[in-house]
């Protein structure tokens, strides 16, 4: 299955230094590269209470949005679209985009996180409108099967899996898989198809994307893990278990033994997008990944977007919200006075900057758990040699590997010959607890990751280590909210969705899983809330 988007997170502890990396001289035999990731300086400063300068200026806005990832940008995009001008979007890093950020080199642009968007269904009209605005969707955005710009639809060949020593087409294990297991796979796919067609009590799809426009998690599915659900339904085929687990690790950065069955099934049953010129499981993708979207959104905001701005204290008063913001570039703080506030940064981090957190949120936030991720981009001077019948695809997955495989960043290139290729390698650290994974991310040196990644990929491409000229690693400490059974069987998410006074949260966290469509939905919802009864606060 596809690697779903994971969204902006892990950046409260991030500094304004952007891609603060450290170049290393590689040990012999390893390609050079950088160990990248958010700098911890500002976060520590906040935690240690060493403080920030006092505010030297007061700025008044009707609406203040904190967080320039997919949700915050969507919120700003909708406000601007509705002709609203008095707002600001604050971004901690020096570039907006959150989990959808990207890099580039002479060969190609490449993603550092979220890198594709499944075709949005009729449940996501706002997202479709935005795609139409950006030229990715042509004609009527409300059509059942809209037409998409074909340069942005993933080119064929799309997916292959390395299993039992050979590449096969598609990711569902087929090559060398026993008939019995294939029957189970078939039964699972049929069961998914019927779940996909199921409606909830109000006539909406039981599983929809955004999930808020579908049915609520049912108790039977929410409280058990995806692994247990498979067993309960009589599925024991190892290849099916691998595939379903792959989906959970891919989309949620979480092992299927810790993923709620409701979320695990949503991955397969929650997409209803179709296109007049593509299959329904096709996706939109760009060399730079979803930053193709976030850059356009950021551009549309113009001056309303303020990068290098860190909110460090939030207070809610009868008159409005008072937010102290440190502007890293100017080394000073300003006070924003806003009628309404949208917290579009990772939900759990609000607790660090808002001493008097509304009580319904306080307990809920304590229960959120985030998954650590690692993304590497490998620049090769030529694509690895292919020996089988199945050519290099967009998404190339290794059966049973620790990583999720690699995506060819320049797959969408129209050129006949590129000057090499960039492979984006994804790995959720699901082997250990999230805290242990974060510890490893903090301590392991570049050579550790380079060795591990080259060993894993070198197993199927013996020439890959020799072809790799640069290997950069990005560490996401808090990449995605983990959709655990305890999260979905509690009232944490419903409580977080309720605004408290003048503050509303907007983040894919509110869905319980980190998808671009979810973030977009919550961003637009927050914008609508900001526009409601605007006069009351004016």
């Amino acid at each position: 299955m596809k690697r779903r988007d994971f969204l902006r997170a892990g950046s409260l502890a991030a500094g304004s230094l952007g891609l603060a990396g450290c170049s290393r001289t590689p040990p012999s035999g390893l390609p050079p590269g950088q160990l990248l990731g958010p700098s911890q300086a500002l976060g520590h400063r906040l935690r240690d209470g060493t403080g920030f300068p006092a505010a030297s200026e007061t700025r008044k806005v009707e609406a203040l949005i904190i967080g320039g990832g997919m949700a915050g940008l969507s919120c700003g995009w909708w406000l601007k679209r509705q002709g609203h001008a008095s707002f600001a979007v604050l971004e901690l890093e020096n570039e907006a985009g959150g989990n959808a950020r990207s890099g580039s080199n002479p060969i190609s642009a490449y993603p550092w996180g979220a890198h594709y968007l499944p075709l949005p269904g009729p449940e996501a009209p706002e997202l479709r409108l935005m795609l139409a605005e950006f030229g990715a969707l042509k004609g009527d955005p409300h059509a059942l099967r809209p037409e998409y710009e074909e340069r942005y639809l993933c080119f064929a060949p799309q997916e292959r899996l390395h299993i039992h020593g050979a590449w096969q087409e598609g990711l569902l294990p087929q090559f060398g898989i026993a008939q019995v297991e294939r029957h189970q796979q078939q039964r699972f796919i049929e069961q998914i198809a019927s779940l996909k067609a199921t409606l909830d009590g109000r006539g909406r799809p039981a599983f929809a994307t955004p999930s808020a426009r579908g049915g609520s998690p049912t108790a039977a599915l929410a409280g058990i893990s995806m692994a247990d659900w498979l067993q309960q339904q009589g599925y024991d085929a190892p290849s099916l278990h691998w595939w379903v687990n792959y989906g959970c690790r891919d989309d949620y950065g979480t092992d299927y033994r810790q993923t709620s069955a409701w979320a695990g099934l949503h991955y397969h049953a929650g997409r209803h997008g179709q296109a007049s010129n593509a299959d329904s499981d096709d996706v939109l993708t760009w060399p730079e990944g979803n930053s193709w979207l976030t850059r356009r959104m950021a551009q549309g905001l113009g001056d309303a977007l303020q990068p290098n701005a860190m909110a460090w204290q939030i207070e809610q008063t009868a008159q409005g919200c008072s937010v102290l913001v440190y502007l890293a570039q100017e080394n000073r703080s300003v006070r924003y006075l806003a009628d309404k506030l949208v917290w579009a940064a990772p939900t759990g981090f609000l607790a660090h900057v808002m001493p008097s957190l509304p009580p319904p949120w306080q307990t809920a936030m304590a229960q959120l758990s985030y998954a650590p991720w690692l993304v590497a981009n490998l620049s090769l001077r030529a694509p690895p040699a292919e020996r089988g019948q199945q050519p290099l695809c967009w998404d190339n997955v290794l059966y049973g590997a620790a990583g999720l495989g690699y995506v060819v960043a320049n797959h969408q290139s129209l050129q006949l010959h590129d000057q090499g290729c960039v492979l984006s390698y994804y790995r959720p650290l699901t082997e250990a607890t999230p805290a242990a994974g974060r510890k490893l991310l903090q301590t392991a040196p570049h050579a550790y990751w380079a060795r591990s990644i080259l060993a894993e990929l070198g197993r199927v491409h013996p020439d890959l280590p020799g072809l790799t000229e640069q290997l950069d690693v990005w560490r996401w400490g808090h990449a995605m909210l983990r959709p655990t059974p305890s999260l979905f069987s509690s009232d944490v998410l419903p409580r977080l969705r309720q605004p408290q006074g003048r503050i509303m949260l907007a983040h894919s966290d509110l869905s319980g899983f980190s998808l671009a469509e979810e973030a977009h939905y919550w961003g637009v919802r927050a914008a609508r809330w900001l526009l409601e009864h605007k006069d009351e606060f004016a």
Binding site: Q158, A278, D279, L414, L416
Partner: protein, 499 residues
């Protein structure tokens, strides 16, 4: 004595497996589909060994002499097996598989005879349980040795032809050694010495000629003398000449033969360009050989020809090489021609000019990279570069050998809103070949054509547009970047032609 025989069991087992691996590897290398090749070769080989073992019961007298002769036969057949297969493939394309399985069967049968005969030779020298345990374990050890040596050292370092000869040599040496060991027991030892000596000479001669054998076999893939071979970052360019025929190969695919290229290039250019008497600006995408441009330059009203060709080596070659300049009428050195070495797709994307006539002459869609140049997205961009009354011609594979592919291209061009007029011509070195004219206005075949053409004239042009039933239009889907249907269809259709 028993140990000597046991050692020969080791060698014999190693040789047996080696021939099997050589045959399987060579056939999958030449025919492709390695799973099928390995599986069928091993199957035939093992069953033939079974037949050989069964036949061993008919050997009653002179066991040693029989064993030696079998060794010599295996050595010669196996030793030359790789060379024979190579030559069979290049010169007898039809019965290659038949020859392969026949050879594998005969070698397998002879190898199958060896072990039972050795066991019977040792029958009175060892106890039965020792005999079985030693012979069989050494047999399997020999197989292990080769199975490791073959992929790690033999195949990469020696190549197939010499690997087979090496094991042939070992077989012959075993035969000679056995002759010496049993020299007192053998009746016809003179004859055997003579036979063994001749076999040794043959194999050694084969070794000496191995380099020439391989290169003869490889150049035989190109029938003619290679006059130029050049590897660029984009492709391998090979030019061959035999008498008055010059042929160009790109990545081993024939691009043209000087004998009939005029048919291809006249058919590509004139039905379209002759119908546009006002055409001044012409764009050629692909086709760095200048042969299409030679035809375009026959029109005095054409003011400029823009050639977009990815590989700078191609136009450079066709600008300089005397024989090639003669062939393309020195077209690439014409002041009317401008050459741009860049990627056609990317260039079109950033192109604002309008052209009266666009020639799209790309290689066939044999892989996903080239396949992008046959998608609706590409034709949409080409359409944007087309003047209001302009026309485009697309080389589009064979409507006879790749019928579905051809009509897929037609369907794809129509999907971007252009009217098409498909046509075809016979080019002997390619076969029946297809082209597609596309434009916004209906097409009328030209009444007048340039003088000096050898294939096209005003009378024959209308006939090009008739498609007999075996090439007639079939329903097809649009080829898109996100499905690349054409590459899959083309591969399937072409595979059937080659069978």
């Amino acid at each position: 004595m028993p140990y000597a025989l046991l050692f020969s069991v080791f060698v014999v087992a190693a040789c047996g497996l080696a021939y099997e691996l050589v045959a399987a590897a060579l056939s999958s290398y030449l025919v492709g589909d390695s799973v099928t090749q390995f599986s069928t070769v091993i199957g035939v080989y093992l069953s033939a060994m079974g037949v050989g073992s069964w036949l061993s019961r008919y050997f009653q007298r002179d066991l040693i002499g029989s064993f030696i002769r079998i060794e010599l036969a295996v050595g010669l057949l196996g030793g030359f097996s790789a060379a024979a297969l190579f030559f069979a493939f290049t010169w007898l394309s039809g019965p290659f598989l038949l020859l392969l399985y026949l050879l594998v069967f005969v070698i397998g049968m002879l190898v199958g005879l060896e072990i039972p005969l050795v066991m019977r030779l040792l029958e009175h020298r060892l106890q039965f349980k020792d005999l079985v345990s030693r012979v069989l374990s050494i047999d399997y050890l020999g197989a292990l040795a080769v199975s490791l040596l073959f992929p790690l050292w033999l195949a990469p370092k020696l190549g197939m032809v010499r690997t087979a000869l090496l094991f042939g040599l070992l077989n012959v040496l075993v035969a000679l050694w056995t002759t010496w060991l049993f020299r007192h027991e053998l009746v016809s030892r003179r004859v055997l010495w003579l036979q063994g000596g001749s076999a040794l000479v043959l194999i050694v001669a084969g070794f000496a000629a191995a380099d020439r054998l391989s290169s003869i076999a490889e150049t035989a893939l190109y029938e003619d003398r290679i006059v130029l071979a050049e590897s660029t970052p984009y492709q391998r360019i090979v030019l061959t000449r035999w008498r008055d025929d010059v042929r160009l190969f790109l990545n081993n695919n024939l691009q043209f033969s000087a004998r009939d290229e005029y048919r291809y290039h006249e058919a590509l250019i004139h039905p379209g360009l002759a119908s546009l008497p006002w055409a001044k600006r012409v764009l050629v995408l692909g086709g760095g050989d200048g042969l299409a441009i030679r035809e375009i330059l026959r029109y005095p009203q054409v003011e400029s020809v823009t050639l977009v060709e990815l590989d700078p080596a191609m136009p450079a070659l066709f600008k300089q090489h005397p024989a090639l300049r003669e062939l393309n009428g020195d077209a690439l050195n014409s002041p009317r021609v401008r050459i741009i070495n860049t990627d056609a797709f990317r260039w079109l994307e950033s192109q604002a000019n309008a052209y009266d006539f666009i020639v799209v002459d790309f290689p066939d869609p044999t892989n996903f990279a080239v396949g992008k140049l046959y998608t609706n997205t590409f034709y949409r961009m080409a359409e944007r570069a087309l003047g209001a009354r302009g026309r485009m011609v697309v080389q589009s594979t064979s409507p006879l050998y790749a019928r579905q592919s051809y009509w897929t291209v037609v369907q794809t061009i129509e999907s971007v809103g252009l009217q098409t007029r498909p046509y075809h011509a016979l080019v002997p070195s390619f076969g029946e070949w297809g082209f597609i004219l596309a434009g916004r206005e209906p097409y009328t075949p030209p009444q007048r054509l340039p003088t000096g053409l050898r294939f096209i004239n005003a009378d024959t042009v209308p006939g090009l547009f008739n498609f007999p039933p075996d090439m007639a239009r079939t329903p097809a889907e649009v080829n898109r970047l996100n499905n690349q249907l054409l590459v899959r269809t083309f591969e399937q259709e072409w595979k059937q032609v080659q069978r």
